[in-house]
Structures are given as structure tokens and as C-alpha cells.
Symmetry: C2
Subunit: 424 residues, 2 copies
């Protein structure tokens, strides 16, 4: 019978793994309109400034600011409105002193104007009092009273105020959000270089495991890890590849793992978690390449019987077969590895503060990850532990996040403030 595992802390395990893994990001072009959630491989730089012209931000009148200085409701400034600035084009007139032009929000300020006064701060005063003639064919001039002064540049956006030419818009490793697509398109960038998503091979192992569309016989269970992990691979930005269930037999397992490994950038094997089966998995990983298994056993609950490996440069993981352990370990090690293969900046982890509804006892010598659901009571958020053995898939279905209890904690009493990491 093989010896029991030599446990590493999660931090030690990750450090050992990183010491042997040098991720390579492969860039590929992608149309910006299809690039939601893709990871930029190359920084995006503004080819020109934005806006490219002085843009009004309100409905009102383009003016020379000096004409409005000192204007009040009691003593308004009088201006002649001599034209209407066109939308989407440069005005073919130039404003002079005492003159104004109607402008719409987002329109280009006409030459000669240096500010815009809001419609709400003016009043129509009748015919052209100052005697100015129309500057635009078909435009009937009229005069306005301005009740307020405007400063030079007021109610306008200056060229380059949004972004300047040559500015780095987005750094490499940034995951593109809806507004980022807009930011890129605004400066005419319609294609970006993004990271090719890593292909993650998922192999479920176990003589007791049958495909989910098959009725399990006595002692058999359906394969669920392949599909929960496929979902987590997608969430992390990878492409999941699933394979037929591999048996607990060394030669057949080796062949199945080798096929998966060769077709992917990374392989994840979820196995029955008994000691003997873990050895099968470790052997199958070791035959893939050097250095092979680096860590076998991690001080995490649930998830102790975990394998971290690098084989000829590709990561390989052996995860426990129990669904709760399997997902916990995947999130701890495989998700960050996929992000490394994408060259992605660490995502902001979504956490919520909550009050713990029940005592959590200490797990001596292990970092403990306790699943919780959130409840609102009297306006306060409570984290209710969903206790359950790690074999129970419904522990996960009934919960929405996790509390990490550190390695050498004495447990957490009910009523404590805790931080819940929400499921992605």
C-alpha cells in the first residue's frame, strides 16, 4: 500500500509549480465587435486624439465668451443668433463679436466661437437687435438675452480631452468589457491582438463513473466533473475539451491522458480519490514528460489529494474526484493557470462582507474552504455555511460562495464578520 501524502500548503504548492512553468501567450487577431471577454495580448494605443474637434456638450448657443462677461438676469448680454451649426459637419461660417449660433449637444463649435451658453440660461428677445445679418442661407436671425457669463471653453469638450494621440488605452492582459469595445472603436481600432484561448483537456477517471446520459448501475455514478469543469474553463477564458471516461487501469489511463495532453495546452484529470487511484493518476502524468509530478497532496480542505505537475512545459493537474473538492482545487490552481496562459491580469475577485450565521470549527493543519449561501436579514448580509461532505454536488448547488479559513486558525465563531468570495 503506498505511503500517505506529504502535504504542501497551497502557497508552497503554487510556488513550486510556478518554478517549473513558463507560460507562453499566443496572440491572434480578433474583430473588436467580437472581442467581449477576450484578453488583450498587445497594448492598444490611440492612433489619434478624441474628440477630434471642439464639441458642444449642451443644447445652446456658441458664442465668444467675452461677450457674456458680467451678464446677469437683471442686466443680460444681448447677442444676435445668425446661424445654426450643422451636426456632423464643420460650419461654413465664422462667428464675430456679438454673434451667436444655435448648437445641438454633440455638435462641432463653429469657427470663431470659444464657448457655449446653455439654452436654459438665455431667452429669445425678438428680431436681431444688434443688426447682424444671417450668416447662413435660409436662417432668419433673432436676438437672445444671456443671463449668465460663460468662461472660455465652457460647455465644450476640447480636442484630446477624452484621450490623447499615442496614449495607451488599454494594457496587455486586460480582459475586454463592453465599454472597452466602445473605447477602441471610438478611435477607429476595429481589430485587436488577443490571446488565443488555451485548450484545456478534461479527463474523468474511474471504473465507477458512467456518462451522464447513462443510467448508473449499483455502485456507479454519473460523470459530472467533466461538465462542471468545462463551465469553469469557459469562465476562466479557456476552451474545454472533454474526453471519454478513462478506466482505473494504468495502460488504458496512460493512453487516454496522452491523447488529451497532445491535443491541449493543459490537462486536468479528475480521479477517484483513493490512495491507489491517485497513484494511477500520478503515473499517467509522469509518463507525459519532464519534470512530471511536482506536488502530490495539498493542505487544503476539501481537496487534499491534489497533483500539480508540469510535463515538457505543459501544466497537468490531478484533482480529487469528489465534486466539491474538485471545483475547489480547480479554482485554486487551474483557473490561475489558465489566466497565466492568457497573459491575463489577475481579475478582481468579487467578495462581499457578511456576518457568519454558524460557528465554523478549525481544520487543524489545513486551509479550510467552507461553502456558504447568502441571506439578507434585517438589511444585513449573513453567510450561512452549507456543510456537507465533499462528495455532495448539492453542497455546491445550494451555495454561492466560499469562506477561506486560514491554515492555523482556531475556527470562526458565529456572528463574526467574514469575507465571502462569490462564485464567478
Amino acid at each position: 500500500m503506498p505511503e500517505f501524502l506529504k502535504l504542501r500548503t497551497a502557497e508552497e504548492a503554487w510556488e513550486i509549480f510556478l518554478g517549473h512553468f513558463a507560460p507562453v501567450v499566443t496572440a491572434e487577431p480578433c474583430a473588436v465587435i467580437d472581442a467581449l471577454d477576450r484578453v488583450l495580448a498587445v497594448a492598444a494605443t490611440a492612433p489619434h486624439e478624441l474628440p477630434t474637434f471642439v464639441r458642444g456638450t449642451v443644447d445652446g448657443y456658441a458664442v465668444q465668451a467675452a461677450d457674456t462677461y458680467g451678464a446677469t438676469a437683471g442686466l443680460p448680454a444681448y447677442l444676435d443668433v445668425v446661424a445654426e451649426a450643422p451636426m456632423g459637419a464643420r460650419a461654413d461660417f465664422t462667428l464675430g463679436p456679438g454673434q451667436a449660433a444655435l448648437v445641438h449637444t454633440g455638435g462641432m463649435a463653429p469657427p470663431g466661437a470659444d464657448a457655449v451658453i446653455m439654452l436654459e440660461h438665455t431667452n429669445r428677445a425678438g428680431g436681431p437687435l444688434m443688426g447682424a445679418a444671417s450668416l447662413q442661407a435660409g436662417f432668419a436671425p433673432f436676438s437672445i438675452e444671456a443671463y449668465r457669463p460663460v468662461a472660455v471653453g465652457e460647455n465644450c469638450i476640447q480636442p484630446g480631452e477624452d484621450v490623447r494621440a499615442g496614449d495607451q488605452i488599454l494594457p496587455p492582459g486586460h480582459t475586454l468589457r463592453p465599454q472597452d469595445l466602445g473605447g477602441l472603436l471610438a478611435v477607429g481600432i476595429t481589430t485587436v491582438q488577443v490571446a488565443r484561448p488555451p485548450r484545456v483537456a478534461i479527463v474523468s477517471q474511474g471504473d465507477e463513473v458512467v456518462p451522464p446520459d447513462q443510467a448508473p448501475g449499483p455502485g456507479q455514478v454519473r460523470d459530472i466533473n467533466s461538465y462542471t469543469l468545462a463551465g469553469l474553463v469557459r469562465r476562466a477564458g479557456g476552451i474545454p475539451l472533454t474526453y471519454p471516461i478513462a478506466p482505473d487501469q494504468q495502460d488504458a489511463l496512460n493512453a487516454a491522458v496522452r491523447t488529451a495532453f497532445d491535443q491541449a495546452d493543459m490537462v486536468v484529470i479528475t480521479a477517484g480519490s483513493s490512495v491507489s487511484y491517485r497513484d494511477l493518476t500520478a503515473n499517467a502524468i509522469n509518463q507525459l514528460g519532464k519534470p512530471g509530478v511536482l506536488v502530490h497532496g495539498v493542505a487544503i480542505r476539501p481537496g487534499k489529494p491534489t497533483i500539480l505537475a508540469v510535463c515538457d512545459g505543459k501544466p497537468a493537474f490531478g484533482l480529487p474526484g469528489n465534486p466539491v473538492s474538485c471545483i475547489n482545487i480547480f479554482q485554486q490552481f487551474a483557473t490561475p493557470t489558465i489566466r497565466l496562459l492568457l497573459g491575463a491580469r489577475p481579475p478582481r475577485v468579487h467578495t462581499v462582507p457578511a456576518r457568519l450565521a454558524r460557528n465554523i470549527s478549525a481544520a487543524s493543519g489545513r486551509a479550510d474552504f467552507v461553502r456558504v449561501r447568502l441571506e439578507t436579514r434585517d438589511g444585513e448580509t449573513w453567510a450561512v455555511p452549507v456543510f456537507g461532505k465533499s462528495n455532495l454536488i448539492y453542497t455546491l448547488v445550494r451555495s454561492e460562495g466560499v469562506i477561506a479559513v486560514p491554515l492555523n486558525s482556531n475556527g470562526i465563531p458565529a456572528g463574526s464578520e467574514v469575507v465571502v468570495t462569490l462564485d464567478a
Copy 2:
């Protein structure tokens, strides 16, 4: 010149809208393995219990618990191991008193056993001391010392402990996560009824707007709203449909909006936000059906010139053309509308507590939405307002969340604790 808008608060506007909108959810079948992020239309119910058999949770020996009562390290219980329980099958033997069978984690406990003792709590003691014969061809019996008592059921999962037959597994309106796919497949549910994603037509309007792959002339800007909104529609669970840019001309706009409306379950028009153009948009919406425009102008900054409408049962929204306002209003009204069309339970909004890095001044008479980026300083999260006019797309690109300042607030001083709603 048309009159200024009669503003409604966001709550009033939403209530008026809901008074005229009766969402209908259409169900369609979907393979569970493809159902990540889909919304369940019909509750999922467990067709059978899980697990279906008594399952061991550790590596060890199946025993009759009574044989171990009183066992200690000094005075161990002696048992004869007479067989090995097979994985994925029912044992073809029945344990008697004083007998034990090797079991692996996840294996079915053999008939006659009522508990499992962990390998770690036993020791091999040599040949079969109790004289029991092998119950399995080819299995050489041996004896063990058990150092601890186990209770009936210990280290086992009982049938139905994970989920019981007939239990509702997931409610209608639930958005499927990776673990939910596992939970469904575990009980053999391979197809679910999910909500058909609503098609959301997006029409950008404006004489100054050109497609993003076109070089804008003087006074022109590229269409970005169509694509940021398409991203937000996808995030909300809908299918975005984009259309050519519509001009600021009533007949052409009416025709463009009608085409989009007829092909979709909901229409969103983003327009130049000047008063006169807003009237074009309102007219175009009113021609679509009854009752038409319900709200025109909302006390939200940014985003005042907003239209909420229902036309012959379908929602229609007129959003400001400024990108920041446009996205803010979309998230306030269009995202929840898409969720209603999906019959989706309200998602948990991701928020983080933070300390405000700069004063936010009051916006009298309006609910104010201030974009922020998050910074960690000395382990504390700070929300740094990204001030900028709502015309500036990079206000959004440079930020990652929003602080809501209520309608009649006096502003928020720097150093206050605030809640930041993170971008989806």
C-alpha cells in the same frame, strides 16, 4: 422649440413602465452541457435520490460498527479482511460479524456492512486471526487492528443524503452556473427548459454618427454605442441585433426603427441628446404602437433625456447618445427589462465597500451615478471618482464601477465609506 422635459425619478419611471409591461417568457429545450448562463424556464426536480447507494467517503474497511465499539490503541478490535469491495459494482458477498472488506473512496459499501473505518485508524496484523475464509476468489484474507470505534453510518453517505427524489433542485428563473450543470447531470437530467433569449434591437441615430470602420470627417464621430450596448445585452442574457445608423430625419428614422422593432422583442435607440432630436426619437417610438412613450426625462445624472415606452406589448427605450449616459441608463432600465423577458431572478449585484478618495458634490434634484476606479492603499480599498463629462467614453474605460448618490443627498465627503457597484 419644444418644452423642457418633465423629469420622473428613476423609481417612478420604472413603476410607470412596469404598469404597462407584461413580460412573456418563452421556453425552449437546451442540452445541459450547453446551458451555462442560461435561465431555467421550468423548475428542475430530482427524478431519483442521490446517491443511490451507501457510498464510502474514505479509503478504509467496511465493517459492522458494533465490532469496533470500545476499540482503543491499547485495546484494539481485531477484524478479518475477507474481500475487497469492487468499484462501480455491488459486492457479490455479504459481510458477517468480525469481518471487514477493503473499500476505496466513493465505492459502494458491501451488503452486511454499516460503517467504514479509515485506513489511518487501523493496522495490518498478519494472517486471518479470527479464522475467517476469503469471501472472494483470489483474495488472500488478512487481519487488522482497529484503534477506534466507528458509529453506524460513519464515513458513509446514505442514499438520498445529497438530494432526495422529487426535491426541487433549481427554481425557475435560476441562471445556471458550472456547479448547477453538475447537479442536473448527477441525477440524469441532460436537457432542461430554458428561456429563449430576447432579441434586443439596437439603433444608433444621428447625422454626426459614422460606422466605426469609417474615418470621421469634421464634426463626425464613430458609432460606439451600438457595440457597447451589444456587449451589455449579451451580459444580460439577450441577443443583440445591430442596424445601420439612422439619420436625424423623421421618415427615415421611423422606417429604421419599425424594421428593428419588428425583428426583435425589445428595441433600444441611442440618439443625439439634443431636445429637438429627442423629439424625433419619441415620435419614432410613438408610431410603433400603443401606449407608446410613457416617460420622457428621468432625474438621473448622467442620463436625463431618457425615454421609456411600451408599444403593443414590446418595450422600447430612447437612450441619450452620450456614451456614459447611454450605458448608465441601459443598466438602470434595459438590463432589468431583459431579465424580465428571461423570467430571471434578480442577479446578485456585485458590490464592494470602499473609502471615497475625493469629495462628490451634490446633484440637486437628481440621482447621481459617479464612475470610480478602485485602488488598494495600505490594504484598504479606495474608490477614486473618475470625473468626466458624459460624452467621454474613456470615463468608462478608466473606471470599473459606480457609486449611486441618492436624489436629495448633500454630496459625499472624501473619506466616507461608500458601496461601489462593480461593472458586470
